[in-house]
Amino acid sequence: MLRYVAKRLLFTLPILFVVATCVFQLARVVPGDPALVILGDQANAEALQALRQRMGLDRSLMAQYLSFLWDTVRGDLGLSLSSNRTVWSEISAVLPFTIELTIAATFVGVVLGVPVGVLAALRRNRVADYVTRLLSLAGLSFPAFVSGILLLLAFAVQLRWFPVVSRIVINDPLTRLHNLVLPSINLGLIMAAYVTRVTRSSMLGVLTEDYMRTARAKGLSRRRIVWSHGLRNALIPIVTVVGLYFGTMIGNSVLTEIVFNRPGVGKLILGALQSRDYTLLQGLMIVFAFFVVMVNLCTDLVYGLIDPRVKAR
């Protein structure tokens, strides 16, 4: 197992390296002089030159690239162009809110999605199955900002159960939780739709496997056959979807944060776009890519736990 983990970790390094290279290249495509962007049109030549020097823009592209790589490896993502603080401090200030949101949403998605998916598979082609399928199809059709707006209109504007604008007070866990409910439901329901669908189809596949018949031939009860023999074998595609969904979820959480006016990476991105803060965007991409790669790594490790055959490979 340890060997397997080490191997998978090793495999993520080239991906991260190429990701960093792409981000670096992408940032160089930006038209215009970043120093000019920061200091504005009125800046004098000396100040511009000084800033360029400070940012290392006067060096050769190769030298810039190498120091960028070296800085990234050390976790130094550079200076934000708009705030003059380090990119990492900008991101880390809001990252907990986004992480909190995604974890809560994943919880909603899995706890709701898996049982509903299994039940739909067991009642294949009956009413419950059709209803589940239609609802989940509709659920995964929602752009996060559309569902967010509708939830906001219904529960905050009409029913007034939740605040229209989140006001997050760090020291008050109850308010913080209350503010989390609507956004995480928004994000979680969309995810539950995906999880339900993949659980259903994966379970349907498993139900026709030979070993399920063997389990019946052993005289096991139906419940034990489904939940103990079936679900474990159906889990791999489910874990895959949860893992793959992570990338979509980051995008959706950005939209959710914007709609619910929550602090978080989403609003940071909006700000960075408006102020054309490319180092911040670049840093965000690297952090996100890092998270996505790590989540993929985790799903691979979970495969190893679920399916003994994976380790053998």
């Binding site: 060997r3 191997k7 090793l10 495999f11 490979r313």
Partner: protein, 321 residues
């Protein structure tokens, strides 16, 4: 150089794993120093259990799998050394029939497309003439010409196998490699296809390399037989003689284990005969020694050479060394 197919010293090792991420490297000697010859218009059966390398050997003959070592000659062609253009020429002389009639036909192509495509690709003919030839071939394999526009899923396993045979014969080859051509079929259909293959062999004067795990099928179809075990040929000779009087202990085990439809011939195999060892880690010396009732100390250490204890018979066993 004689006519027909001559193979000598054929070897193929599959390497899996290894490298940066692959885990421990595994080397499987699928085919290990295999030599045999099939006379012009002769038929050699290659028999053995799953994983013995018989299919790999057959595919190496067509260079569908690139052999690591060995010489392969057919008539005047040096197959092992053939370049791209020569290989195309070989394709018109040697063809292959596959085991699984469900996997061997492209489900998205009509029978017409399947049968005329080789003619077009090799620039033999196209259009009406190709259709005409496809129709003739269909009737030769016992199908109606009317099926040209149908798709494979409309046919039974036996009919698909006939289409597969027709496709192999479209380029008018003189030699056919048949890889378990009847193993996937029911007994009654199996006999139909065996008879068809025998008819075609006689009518078209075809040479055959016939791979099967079924001793009965081999006996019925082939004049010569070679028995493979873990990548090597352990015994070869004329079918009748070899089945009547097997020399190698493995051949004997194989014959004794194959049931005969006659309750009077019930055998009680009292000995536990073990499993086939892993091909990635074959036993040293004679690969069969862990299962062999006659194993001697020498069998554990020295790989037996192939000897000829009787005319036309070859065996690789220390009992005859």
């Amino acid at each position: 150089m004689s006519d027909g197919l001559t193979v000598s010293g054929l070897s193929k090792t599959f390497v899996s794993g290894g490298g940066l991420l692959g885990g421990p490297e595994q080397r499987v000697r699928a085919v290990d120093d295999v030599s045999f010859a099939v006379e012009e218009q002769g038929s050699l059966g290659l028999v053995g259990e799953s994983g013995c390398g018989k299919s790999t050997a057959a595919r190496c003959v067509l260079r569908l799998i690139e052999p690591d070592a060995g010489a392969i000659h057919y008539a005047d062609i040096d197959i092992a050394k053939a370049g791209r253009h020569e290989l195309v020429r070989i394709r018109r002389r040697i063809q292959i029939v596959f085991q699984d009639p469900y996997s061997s036909l492209n489900p998205r192509r009509t029978i017409r497309q399947t049968l005329t495509e080789p003619l077009r690709v090799h620039g033999v003919c196209a259009g009406r003439e190709a259709d005409e030839r496809a129709g003739q071939m269909l009737s030769e394999v016992g199908l109606s010409r009317d099926v040209l526009n149908r798709y494979p899923h409309e046919f039974s396993g036996g009919q698909r196998q006939r289409v597969g045979i027709a496709r192999a014969l479209m380029l008018e080859p003189s030699f056919v490699v048949a890889d378990e051509p009847v193993s996937a079929l029911d007994v009654s259909v199996q006999a139909q296809v065996l008879r068809l293959l025998a008819d075609l062999r006689d009518r078209r004067r075809l040479g055959f390399l016939f791979i099967s795990h079924d001793l009965g099928v081999i006996r019925h179809f082939c004049k010569q037989v070679a028995v493979m075990y873990l990548g090597r040929i352990v015994e070869q000779g004329p079918v009748e003689e070899l089945f009547r009087e097997p020399l190698h202990p493995y051949t004997r085990l194989l014959l004794d284990s194959s049931p005969v439809p006659d309750p009077a011939a019930r055998r009680d195999l009292s000995e536990e005969t073990g499993e086939v060892p892993s091909a990635s880690n074959p036993p040293p010396g004679c690969a069969f020694h862990p299962r062999c009732p006659h194993a001697m100390p020498v069998c554990r250490e020295i790989r037996p050479a192939t000897t000829s204890p009787a005319p036309n018979r070859l065996v690789a066993c220390h009992l005859y060394g």
